[in-house]
Amino acid sequence: MSDKADSKEEKNKFEMARRSFLRGIGMSAAATAATPAWGGQTFSDAFADFFQKHYQRMSAEEIEEALERIERKASLRYGVKIDCANTPPQEGVVFGYAINISRCQGYRDCVDACVKENNLGRDSQVQYIRVLQMDRGDTNLEHSEHYYDPAEVPVEGKYYMPVQCMQCDDPPCVKACPVEATWMEPDGVVVVDYDWCIGCRYCMTACPYWARHFNWTEPEIPAEEMNPDTHFLGNRPRPRGVVEKCHFCLQRTRKGRLPACQEACPTGARIFGNLLDPDSEIRYVLANKQVFRLKEDLGTEPKFWYYSD
């Protein structure tokens, strides 16, 4: 895939394969052609991957080697050179989110931006954010419309409520995991070690917000759409058979940038920031607006608020 013409041909082949893709049957022709045996890796990488330790148990060198393997695998599988980082959480930072539902117009630009930023499988159509269309005067989630598709939003008489991982402070999903493949980082973000998850999906059962998603098939991402700026616990390409979820765009936010969904929102409905910083915008919202949390009665302490003005 180093040759340019070659890569273009591969891309065309990929496009064709993608179109004729029957829900998850096998890998695309392009990916198959470009991948050696051992699941798209060299034998030594596959071997090292198999015995790779839990993220929290790896030494600095072991993490470095793991990151290099991830980058090599991405170039073999997707034909893209990515950069996989391991940016640590910042001191004195715990992230929180607030959404102004009177501003949200249901454009779903956040969903789009999230899919691109986080290298979500295009065929599998995984989306971390789900925007619910609700009738005004009704807060019952069972009456929500998940797949609204009118000619124009907002629809008269409706309001919109984006839902994603709430990064609960007492996360039931973390308790559920039998192998500690998911945990809360010091900056308050619940992450998954995609190389440690065994795919039992008990965390999905435990989550009250339907925030966790499973890779039922190999996630496919067109080479030209791959976001090469990745993080080990964030948006790096995921393998098949593991669970993933919103991680507040770790690859961006740990470097002081805003999450993709926040940046994409054209209405300014999304407020993201450091809960420990008394001067942050999110702290202003919490102090001055009528906020509420979804399913607060379950006691999971979401770090995700809604408000309206």
């Binding site: 829900r23 998850g24 049957i25 096998g26 198999f50 839990h54 148990r57 995984v126 789900r130 619910l132 019952n140 989630l141 069972e142 009456h143 929500s144 998940h146 839902v163 039931p172 308790k175 559920a176 995991c177 039998p178 192998v179 500690e180 493949a181 440690w196 998850c197 065994i198 795919g199 039992c200 999906r201 008990y202 999905m204 059962t205 435990a206 989550c207 009250p208 917000y209 339907w210 966790r212 998603h213 499973f214 890779n215 039922w216 098939t217 190999e218 393998p239 098949r240 058979g241 593991v242 669970v243 399913k295 379950l298 006691g299």
Partner: protein, 408 residues
């Protein structure tokens, strides 16, 4: 040396039998092979070949798992009368019951393994080498209790059969503590499995304190049903004298447990429907359908009909004493509970999703085939174990010192 001969002789006994016996083994093996073949398909393509989705993320596999843990636990209904009340008649068949427990636990474990997205990473569960989230994760608890139960149910019969094989007397003081442990353990496996579900406030359908008791009650109905049917078959094909008093005791236990189970179901229905709130959506979906989606509705009513019919037969003494009626009741109860606490328990927990989306589930051909393969594997395993157990219990298989062949 005697241990090796014991294993060797038992293995030989397992493979010895008339043509019909071999035909039976072949049929089971063929189904196992087909299931394995379809599982290979699932492994190479991913769990996308199943009917499961992000919305309904557990399906037919976990449904069978929940049911089979109950069957495994029910062996305790033979263990208690045999070892605590010293019922001689039941002692004669208790090892057959424990063989069934071994097969059922093995099947349960297999159903969890085929449900995994990454079975290649199972070693992550091994304490110290991997990371085992015990005692926090209920799934970790389930791994502990199921594997412990498997070991107990292999070790105790192994010791008892081995001493009998050697013509010695088993040391009561040696095995009795383990028998007592196994009794409590049996209750624990099914309680933990119930807690696995009821531990989730995110899923109001399961989040009820009644789930544990319901699991035990239904297990003590479906378990004896299967044991009675199995003993009837063994009576016919193995010329093994199973006394009627054993069947009668099991039928009585079953009659009681079925009534308690139905009472529990009624209590759930009342509580959820009298003042129907949002938390009743799943049970509404199960029994009446929701927003036009009702694929489980015919199944649950069918199951309820089977269970009620079985209870009526079991509650009328002359009918329960009649072998034909009793066997019919056992078949009805077994199928009824398999539906009720298999698919009828697992699937509605996911419908609607916590965000109120209704997305239905139906198992695919791969899931049905893999499940059939696992069931066939369990039956095969039980057949082989029972074959050896019966031969040793009948005294056909004995240690013969240095001689090359066992006594016939």
């Amino acid at each position: 040396m005697a241990v090796i001969r014991f294993i060797y002789d038992s293995g030989r006994e397992m493979l010895r039998g008339p043509r019909e016996y071999w035909l039976w083994l072949m049929i089971l093996s063929a189904v196992v092979a087909y299931g394995a073949f379809r599982y290979a398909e699932q492994l190479s393509t991913g769990l996308v070949v199943t009917g499961m989705s992000d919305q309904v993320s557990w399906g037919f596999y976990i449904a069978n798992f929940a049911f089979l843990v109950g069957i495994a636990a029910a062996a305790v209904l033979l263990v208690i009368p045999a070892y605590i009340f010293h019922r001689k008649d039941i002692k004669e068949v208790v090892l057959v019951g424990e063989g069934m427990a071994v097969a059922a636990v093995t099947m349960a474990i297999m159903f969890v393994v085929v449900d995994l997205g990454r079975p290649d990473r199972l070693w992550h569960m091994i304490p110290f080498i991997g990371r085992f989230n015990w005692p926090t994760s209920l799934l970790a608890w389930d791994v502990v209790v199921l594997s412990g139960y498997l070991v107990l149910n292999l070790a105790i019969p192994f010791y008892l059969l081995y001493t009998r094989y050697c013509g010695k007397e088993a040391s009561f003081r040696l095995y009795f503590p383990f028998v007592v442990l196994a009794m409590f353990w049996a209750i624990s496996i099914h309680t933990v499995t119930a807690f696995l579900f009821s531990a989730n406030p995110a899923r109001p359908f399961w989040h009820t304190a009644l789930l544990g008791p319901r699991f035990i009650a239904s297990a003590f109905a479906s378990g004896p049903a299967l044991i009675i049917l199995t003993l009837e078959i063994i009576r016919k094909v193995a010329s093994y004298n199973v006394r009627q008093s054993v069947i009668d005791t099991l039928a009585l236990i079953m009659a009681t447990a079925m009534q308690i189970n139905l009472f529990f179901v009624g209590a759930e229905l009342f509580t959820d429907f009298y003042n129907e709130g949002a938390h009743a959506a799943s049970i509404h979906y199960l029994f009446l359908g929701l927003d036009g989606f009702n694929s489980l509705q015919p199944w649950i009513w069918f199951a309820l009909t089977l269970n009620v019919t079985a209870v009526v037969i079991l509650m009328i003494n002359p009918l329960r004493a009649n072998p034909v009626y009793l066997n019919v009741a056992c078949v009805l109860a077994f199928i009824g509970i398999w539906i009720e606490k298999g698919m009828g328990l697992v699937i509605p927990g996911f419908v609607p999703t916590p965000l109120g989306e209704i997305f239905e589930y139906a198992p695919t051909g791969v899931e049905l085939s893999v499940a059939a393969g696992i069931w066939a594997f369990g039956v095969l395993m039980f057949t082989l174990l029972a074959k050896a157990v019966i031969a040793i219990e009948q005294g056909k298989l004995r240690y013969s010192g240095n001689s090359r062949s066992a006594l016939l």
